[in-house]
């Protein structure tokens, strides 16, 4: 009985979110929800496209920043650094995963946003700011899981490659990376899930205008912030529309989770 608690909670959550969110989607038509540009909840116009695109932009931006930094860090720590440095930095990076997301958002507000406003123009609250902060937030996830999967590659692979005369870098690129590929992919997908699901930090720095951004410096609103911004005062169909936003978010996350699960299962021997 107890063991089924996790599954039953998952079921209850799914059922509740869907039963609150789907009726209104079908009432106004799924197409309108997914592809209409107008989000005027008080006038019963519920187009989620700007938020869907906003989430994708911000998450894509976070990956552009998080993947190179995170993978470089993982490679350096497993392949090029001394054991002492690694055994110090890896736990430290993992500890950093515990910093609350509101703190990251706050750093965005006090440091990044004034910088963007002064140097690059625009209001500062922008796709760029949200991407940078989310990119930093997902670093610990990407780094620690990538290190785990690089370390799980059998020693003999590396030794064989070096014995054949390959340099350290060639070994990393041609042997270690392909061997650890599925774990690295899983780390990126988990990071991506974290970026899409992040709420409070994004609200603080993204500007939250419900329209499709035309440049990196335009404000943007994501699916998560759409829920959090309006849940406090929404009622009736407006509230149901927020649950519909939750349904879309839920579906996206579930797809990502399933991909991550498949990828990490393949990596296990």
């Amino acid at each position: 009985m107890i063991a089924l608690s996790a599954v039953s909670i998952l079921l209850v959550i799914t059922v509740y979110i869907f039963s609150e969110g789907t009726p209104i989607m079908f009432k106004y038509g799924l197409k309108k929800f997914l592809f209409s540009l107008d989000w005027f909840p008080l006038e019963k116009s519920f187009g989620l496209l700007p938020m869907i695109i906003g989430s994708l932009f911000v998450t894509g931006g976070a990956l552009v920043i998080g993947i190179p930094l995170g993978l470089a860090c993982a490679v350096v720590l497993t392949e090029f650094s001394s054991k002492r440095l690694r055994s110090f930095l890896k736990p430290v990076v993992e500890l950093l995963a515990g910093i609350p997301s509101v703190v990251y958002g706050f750093m965005g507000v006090v440091i990044l946003i004034p910088f963007i406003r002064d140097r690059l123009g625009g209001p500062g609250f922008s796709v760029l700011a949200a991407s940078v902060i989310l990119g930093i937030m997902i670093l610990p996830t990407i780094i620690s899981i990538s290190i785990d999967s690089l370390e799980a590659v059998p020693r003999s692979y590396r030794e064989g490659s070096i014995a054949l005369g390959a340099t350290r870098w060639q070994t990393t690129r041609m042997v270690m990376f392909p061997a650890a590929k599925s774990g690295i992919i899983a780390s990126v997908i988990l990071g991506m899930g974290r970026a899409i699901g992040e709420t409070m930090a994004v609200i603080m720095i993204a500007g939250n205008a419900a329209m499709i951004p035309h440049s990196l410096l335009d404000p943007v609103r994501t699916l998560t912030s759409n829920i959090a911004l309006e849940l406090g005062y929404a009622a009736g169909e407006h509230r149901q529309a927020l649950f519909a936003t939750g349904v879309i978010l839920f579906v996206i996350i579930m797809i990502l989770n399933t991909i991550a699960n498949l990828a990490s299962r393949k990596s296990k021997p």
Binding site: I2, A3, S5, A6, V7, I9, L10, L11, V12, I13, Y16, I17, P68, G70, A72, C73, V76, L77, F80, P91, V92, V93, E94, L95, L96, G98, I99, P100, S101, V102, V103, Y104, G105, F106, M107, I136, L139, P140, I143, R168, L190, I196, G197, T199, M200, I203, M204, T224, I227, A228, L231, G232, L242, F243, G246, L249, I253, L256, A260, N261
Partner: protein, 267 residues
Amino acid sequence: MRALLWLLTAVTVFILFFIIFYVLKKGLPVVSLEFLTRNPAEMGKAGGIFSTIVGTMALTLLAILIATPLGVGSAIFLTEYTQESWVTRVIRFGSECLAGIPSIIFGLFGFILFVTKLGFGWSLLSGGLTLAFMILPTIIRTSEEAIRSVPYAYREVSFSLGSTRWQTVTRVVLPSALPGIATGVILSIGRSIGETAAVIFTSGSSLHIPTSLFSSSRTMSVHFYILAREGISMDNAYGTAAVLIIAILSINVLAYSLMNRFIRRYS
């Protein structure tokens, strides 16, 4: 190429350290005994953060009390009472999915079920239940790993002395796995303390010290979020952030050292 990689690594490590040092540098001067022991005044513009510390502790404690028995129970079932089968696969899949759900979805769910449908209102109870659901997967996974790493010989000896499965689990396996289980619980405490999105819609943001399960209360993270977002007081926001970061980092360090000791014992 190697230089570039080192450069990227240095940038990464620098950014992560910078955030902590910056917040501590700005926040620690604000933190004093008075700041920790006085209630917020004027919506948080003046005064301390005492009631939010109480709120955080009460909410976290409640979540842990609900989630630990469920999580450890699931882990015992998964490791001691079943063979690998479709049931265990379903449970594991469910728990992994639950782990990936963003906290705002938990908030949305807690808001509709506990706050409105069940009529708990914005309260410790609603917030605690929501948080408990959120941390359950962490507790299941870490407890399962801890129980699995207890050597099989321990169980065989216990069985050969004539003890039942239940006696073996409660008197041999669980005590040996305790540090590992504690690690999971402590990590969950850290996560509960830092959570905002799931809490703000379920536990509310009252600045009063909670007096019962049904009173609304504000946690440190929510307090920090409101101070910073509404620009009420940047000084107090930094102070709250510093307290929050110190609390979470020391909790995570504790979890880490426990885990290391546990790993060393069985390898």
